[in-house]
């Protein structure tokens, strides 16, 4: 029971849990925009770089890590890799 309460509190305390990155997310057309979107969703941006013409960002959230590739023309996610 106590654990449940704790979990509930945790969920309430972190608004980030409300919105998660998916393959359909649109994050922005510049590296700054993509980073800002991810930060707003509660992700910790570890690294951002251009990779094969795509914006690649390494992120961490809730003990999980992943990489996302964004098309700078459309701002949409092209690849999402969770590790």
């Amino acid at each position: 029971m106590r654990r449940l309460t704790l979990l509930a509190l945790l969920a309430l305390a972190s608004p980030a849990l409300a919105e998660s990155l998916t393959k359909d997310s649109v994050l922005g057309t510049t590296m700054q925009e993509v980073q800002a979107s991810l930060t707003a969703m509660g992700y910790e941006v570890r690294k951002a770089e251009m990779e094969d013409g795509q914006i690649e960002v390494y992120f961490v959230r809730d003990g999980k890590m992943g990489e996302v590739y964004v098309n700078p023309q459309t701002g949409a996610v092209t690849t999402l890799k969770m590790k």
């Binding site: 570890r46 690294k47 390494y58 992120f59 961490v60 999980k64 890590m65 590790k83």
Partner: protein, 209 residues
Amino acid sequence: MAFTSKPNSGRTGARSIPRARKLISASGTTSARDIQVWDPLVRLIHWSLALTILLNGAVVEEESQVHEWIGYIALGLVAIRLVWALIGPKHARFAAFPPSPGRAVRHLRDLLAGDRRVHLSHNPLGALMVYNLWISVILIGITGYMMTTITFFGIDWVEEAHEVVFGWLLFSVALHVAGVAVDSWRSGVNLVRSMVSGRKTIPQGREVE
């Protein structure tokens, strides 16, 4: 007796006799010998480690699971070799090739002066290279593992370190191969063949250390 010195006989004899004959006029009284130096585990680890470096450096996708597994295998191989250097046969032990810059410098000087002595284990320069290669693989393995942890995932310096040390490893491997070629030519012992067969065929009259 820690190593067995036997006359040319059996399998390897056929190959070493002609070489010995050629050297008779130029050399002293000791006859050519075939000496067992590298045990099967040393050879297996040597070639397996070379394979892991080749695979992870040039064949396997960098961010793949396979790359990670091959990296752990490389770490495991070095770990086993280090234990073997404590408990293995004489020529495989740390004591047979201590890391000594002083000895390496002296060896280099002797080498330039035309010394053609044969070392049964690694020569002092080769010894430094062996430690360098192992340390490099360990550092690459550690930084590689770090990249998979939440603490160091996406952290730039870890990735940089992983790549810089790998570059150093490639340079070292090139130097290692060059060293093997030079020492084979200098000492008259085909070192590549001895890492395959485990035996060093010492030319007649050659001093052994």
